[in-house]
Symmetry: C2
Subunit: 442 residues, 2 copies
Amino acid sequence: MKIKLKSVSGSVVAARGFRASGVFCDIKRLGTGKGSEKGRKRDLALIVSDVPAAVAGMFTTNQVCAAPVKVCVPRVRKGSAQAIVVNSGNANACTGQQGLRDAGEMARFTERALALPRGSALVGSTGRIGVALPMDQVRAGIIEAAVELGDTVRHADQAAEAILTSDTRPKQAAVEFRLGGKTVRLGGICKGAGMIQPGMSATGRRPAASVLHATMLCFITTDAAIAPRPLQTALEHAVARSFNRITVDGDMSTNDTVLVLANGLAKNPLLRTAGGAGFAAFQAALDQVCLELARMIVRDGEGVSRFVTVRLEGARSAAEADAAARAVANSALVKTSWHGGDPNWGRIMDALGYSPAKVIEEKVDIGYSAPGSRKILWSLKHGQPTRVSFRDLCAAVAPREFDLHIRLNLGRSSALLYAADLTEAYVDFNKGDVSNPSALGG
Amino acid sequence: MKIKLKSVSGSVVAARGFRASGVFCDIKRLGTGKGSEKGRKRDLALIVSDVPAAVAGMFTTNQVCAAPVKVCVPRVRKGSAQAIVVNSGNANACTGQQGLRDAGEMARFTERALALPRGSALVGSTGRIGVALPMDQVRAGIIEAAVELGDTVRHADQAAEAILTSDTRPKQAAVEFRLGGKTVRLGGICKGAGMIQPGMSATGRRPAASVLHATMLCFITTDAAIAPRPLQTALEHAVARSFNRITVDGDMSTNDTVLVLANGLAKNPLLRTAGGAGFAAFQAALDQVCLELARMIVRDGEGVSRFVTVRLEGARSAAEADAAARAVANSALVKTSWHGGDPNWGRIMDALGYSPAKVIEEKVDIGYSAPGSRKILWSLKHGQPTRVSFRDLCAAVAPREFDLHIRLNLGRSSALLYAADLTEAYVDFNKGDVSNPSALGG
């Protein structure tokens, strides 16, 4: 079945019955200055549904998880919510009991400002770890954001800007599709940049076989009518194929969060279970928006100059495929060779060899293609260099985006990762400036 | 029992009956030019015992292991050897059957040049992966090195230079101690710089619970009389506390090798078993030389500007202690913060949280001290920031060397790692220069 998805503008306000806003409230306390004055990035976003919505969420599996995650997990489990409030500039992580009180207060203050029922607001935070939230700023920001709410593209743009930290550009996507005879929309915003290797689960607890690994935040809205359980099922499927397949620096954040609100205002027949044509259409839409947003995070990763899709095939198991692909994608030596445009298969073999996956040198194939192309230039076959010239291999890894194909030829399992190079700019950015603590990153 | 160890010069020729040399034979085929002309780093080393010696070895557990490792493992298992030949500039890794033949030929050619019995020479290689060894250069180098053999400090210096790749300086150590009424010496040379996170075992096979993780090479000689089995036991003990505790970039090499030759010319009563006062003295000497050399590798790591000793305590098990310490020591974000002199405990907590070790945020203590000092400046106690000022914490992480103390407070297991920061210089070095393939690193 071919599902037709049409890209539309407006991201989180593309669907009916959603409003959003993004304001500057000086979370980093850089100094006085109200509103979104020139040069002051917005730092508090609000997304609100006109009516109660079904909700689903995925959260970091980091054992050290931020207060907003701890507040959201039980609220999402209830299956219904109506608003999301998010600040950037402060992660509210490692902030102890005060942090939990602050995250709860941030939610309750939002509920009061919007006259919503208690427990209907969800919270997100991103930024520096270990600093208490400046609650006066947060409260002032929520009041202003509530006043500013609207459903135009400009409102979505402002919300998308407000959740950014070291990102260089906002990340938005939305699609329109047909579902049960109705036109439905689904759109989202996200942020990434550093501390990016998400490994999220629905509860924040680690699945037994999970591979662990951003601050990335993603907020999705849809006017589809779908019950909380199939919504959660659909989100887990989409995240497993998008956000959990990206890595910038291999560091998994304390704050990773993906939330979806589905308010049903499209009036399609309610999707009660995770099956059937309607659900498949919804899943396709959610998959596409998540994948588009996830890839934007890698492309805009801190200091990133190359976007590499690692396509690993022929592992003995899915876990081994994933482990082998992650060993390559997170190797400092492989990543610096990508930065240098060096088709260095030796470092790739080395990383495969120390990965927990079974690898037999004499069976490994390594090659390159243009993004998504099956026309592969093989540099190595059965562990032996091919006759392809060094010059041609250099040309294959010179573009800003390329695919790396690895075949272990030991089994039938495969893994795909969206990865990035390691650059001087990444180091320079993250070494920070201790003479200016307020400018230090997460 | 206090064992008195006196530092002496001469590294691999400090002990009786050992000669060494280091020559330039143009392994990288940079062009014509004989001998060790100015500006041409020596690239082939020879170490020879006057008499057959007991041998022990530890090798990379990388599944993709280099031909010299494959040649050495069975030779070391025989327990006796007399010479070690090592080239730099080419790892002879991922070179297939040709590589194995070349490594075997390198050993046999050495045996013939020195008139040694077949099977008595061991081989080592380091450098670029995936390029066939230039055997004409290797043979010419072995002949010249055999001619140049000698037992002066200059000879040791030249051998120490010849095994280097991206290292900025040679690494040598030797000690003298009393054993069974005799004066015994033990000394070694090593190289490191990049692809440094060794995880070696005696067979090159992974122990079930091993944590996996340089090209580092280390060659040790001693005139102690010790049987091969206790020698192997002593080496495994020493490596576990030295080379297997270092990490520069988290990449485990295909070539890691540590070899010890013990020729018995000190005439102490033969150490037949791994026990007793004599063995303890030998162990102490081997431990000290290995630790001294291992720490030199981290200090001279590619682009390294800070040397950090990670002291993790209070884990539930030794494996968890190791995993937690490695998560911190290999985190790109933690390493860049060290480079910046930023006492960023948030990134440390984040890395602990995504490590496979059990961590409870509210129990974690994080602090800093001068190297080896127990006077710890705590930045975090029980997961909460202390009253120590940001300025004081910056001062604690400003020196080129400091200790990071982490207490999980969950159990009695501890781990110690010698780690390094991540700098722009590391990236710049490893991105290489594809316009000059012969200059590309491993």
